[in-house]
């Protein structure tokens, strides 16, 4: 079995599978189909694929019109264009009208790499989570991606699914079943909980392995559904482990960390640490170089765990 796989490739292939099952599925893209991998669907179902050119705002409006006429619409482009470029259209046409459109964006986060600052979507979750009615998902690997895409197709309403450019380590077995709005405990632990999403889940597991050898028992939770949150899992983690470390490939504001902190503050206040991109854009570089430079490695998570445990002990 491979150890890593491309989330966008499995997205493209899952779309074809869904297209065979359901003639109502329509796919739109904005001149990026070879990269978002919607080209698999375009090849198989040319009549149900529309390239909207570099017109992201128009694409969202078209998606809304198709959905209003009963279609299940998938619209794809890079995460940066799927969020910042067409936010008013997302707000008016999808959130406010509540239409059945699935935005599946690839090249999320800083791991888009060499293309640099302009192409790194690091505020997309803040924007999408601000929109009432949207379900927001960041899968941890290719297996979870396929599940999330199938679930989005089967669930009425607007969705945002964020995928990555590079291949992502596999953290699940083929028989994994994704439940919308449910967190997954990847590893039990009692000293501290690491809550992660996307590519940071594999890094959280890696950090937990290392910390276990040093006598720290970390719970690791994958939280693929960023909205709506699995509040029960968060409260349970806070109650049972007493401290939480968040790990996400996103700016500090408005992402998973902010959202979880709101639940923790309301339901069960415990100390938290946040591994994220803080309040700063990254530059060009290879994905791994960037993760290292901007503090998104297993080592960064380890340090955050040590810090939060130390603070928790100090506050006793």
């Amino acid at each position: 079995m491979p150890t890593e796989a491309s989330t966008r490739e499995i997205y493209g292939k899952t779309l074809v599978e869904l297209g065979k099952q359901n003639p109502s599925i329509i796919v739109l893209d904005a001149d990026l189909s070879p990269s978002t991998m919607t080209h698999f669907f375009a090849r198989e179902f040319p009549d149900r694929f529309f390239d909207c050119g570099l017109e992201e705002q128009n694409m969202i409006g078209i998606a809304a019109g198709l959905a209003a006429a009963g279609k299940i619409v998938f619209a794809s482009t890079f995460a940066i264009f799927a969020s910042c470029r067409c936010f008013d259209q997302l707000r008016m046409c999808l959130s406010q009208m509540g239409l059945n459109v699935k935005i599946v964006a690839t090249h999320g986060g800083i791991t888009v790499g060499e293309d640099g600052t302009s192409h790194q979507a690091v505020e997309d979750l803040a924007l999408y989570c601000a929109l009432p009615g949207f379900t927001v998902i960041v899968p941890a690997d290719a297996i979870e991606t396929a599940e999330a895409v199938r679930l989005a197709a089967a669930t009425y309403g607007p969705f945002y699914i964020r995928l990555s450019r590079p291949k992502t380590p596999l953290v699940y077995q083929e028989n994994y079943h994704f439940t919308l709005g449910k967190a997954v405990t990847m590893r039990q632990g009692k000293d501290v909980t690491i809550i992660a999403m996307g590519i940071m889940v594999a890094k959280a597991l890696e950090a937990a392995d290392i910390l276990a050898k040093q006598g720290m028992d970390c719970r690791v939770i994958n939280m693929p559904t960023v909205k709506p949150l699995d509040e029960e899992a968060i409260v349970k983690a806070a109650s049972e482990t007493g401290a939480i470390v968040m790990a996400e490939e996103h700016l500090a504001q408005g992402g998973l960390g902010s959202r979880v902190a709101q639940v923790v503050a309301r339901e069960r206040p415990v100390l938290m640490e946040f591994v994220n991109l803080r309040d700063k854009y990254a530059l060009s570089g290879k994905p791994d170089e960037l993760l290292q430079r901007y503090g998104l490695t297993a080592k960064d998570i380890e340090e955050a765990v040590r810090a939060v445990i130390k603070r928790a002990q100090g506050s006793l």
Binding site: M59, I62, A68, G70
Partner: protein
């Protein structure tokens, strides 16, 4: 602060309701062999004129009662909307979700009052409800909301989105082999929005001859004349260059409106834009070509004068 207009305006609305019922009974075309979904409105020219006047009266009453709103762009669109809802379009107020209905998409969402008036007169909801415009708990929001108002196809208000939405609806018709037509009413001001031109480019690219755009070219936007704020000319040539069939009409002449809609139906392989030259505030002397009434409701006194002119 005066919130509600009272007296003659409200009484007028109720009298209008009674008149409306009789008017409908006299003029609805009901044919025994037609399916329940079939077009039931087939007004004569005189009836269209009468209806447009009624709709204009509603716009005055509604905005005056609400104390805010956009009467100018509602009045300029009154004849176009009347021609569509009471003659040209296939639709059925008893079955707003009929899959084969023609779609009317009001992209200029601030003209909601004139659409609400047409929908109410058509029977989508009671005419009395028009008095709730912009009020708390009303189904008639300041700008259109498809999830609240029966017959409204699209929520609008942020300009420039309707043509894109219309493309999606028209593509769905093609995919499903349905022969409904999609009409999108744009303001001239919203042709400043880049998205309008993205949509213009793609509608022609997709060869959507089942899509008709109508521009309510009343020459005034919020803060002045369009030629001063952001000149659109040469307007017709722009649409032609984007690959559209174009036609220019007097947007207050029913013969011309209906002929242009027929011309659009006959045009194959490309979308049609009807550039309808209109007058902002049309029908009320002191509101015509008056930029103030883009986004300001008439006072009670102004409303009474306006209603007198529209008798």
């Amino acid at each position: 602060m005066k919130i509600f207009a009272v007296g003659p305006i409200d009484i007028g609305a109720i009298a209008g309701l009674q008149f409306n019922l009789q008017f409908m009974l006299n003029h609805i075309k009901v044919s025994s062999e037609s399916a329940p979904e079939a077009n039931i409105f087939d007004f004569s020219m005189a009836e269209l004129g009468e209806m447009a006047k009624r709709l204009r009266r509603h716009v005055i009453t509604m905005t005056a009662t609400a104390g805010s709103g956009h009467p100018g762009g509602s009045l300029s669109a009154a004849d176009i909307i009347t021609a569509l809802y009471f003659k040209a379009m296939h639709h059925n107020p008893q079955n707003p979700q009929w899959p084969d209905r023609d779609r009317f998409i009001l992209s200029k969402g601030h003209a909601a009052p004139i659409l609400y008036a047409a929908l109410a007169e058509g029977g989508y909801f009671p005419v009395e409800e028009l008095a709730t415009l912009r009020k708390l708990d009303s189904r008639l929001q300041g700008h259109t909301d498809r999830n609240l108002t029966p017959g409204v196809e699209m929520s609008a208000g942020s300009l420039g989105m309707g043509l894109s939405f219309g493309i999606g609806v028209a593509l769905a018709a093609r995919l499903d082999s349905r022969d409904y037509r999609t009409y999108v009413l744009l303001s001239d001001g919203e042709c400043d929005e880049g998205q309008t031109w993205e949509a213009a480019l793609s509608a022609a690219h997709f060869k959507l001859d089942n899509l008709t755009a109508i521009v309510d070219y009343n020459k005034i936007q919020l803060s002045g004349w369009t030629r001063d704020i952001m000149n659109l000319e040469p307007f017709n040539q722009k649409w032609q260059a984007f690959g559209w069939h174009t036609t220019e009409i007097d947007g207050h002449d029913f013969n011309q409106i209906l002929a242009a809609l027929q011309e659009a139906r006959n045009t194959k392989n490309k979308p049609t834009v009807i550039i309808a030259h209109t007058v902002k505030g049309k029908g009320v002397s002191f509101m015509e070509n008056n930029v103030k009434f883009h986004g300001t409701a008439p006072t009670t006194e102004e409303a009474q004068r306006a209603l007198k002119e529209l008798e």
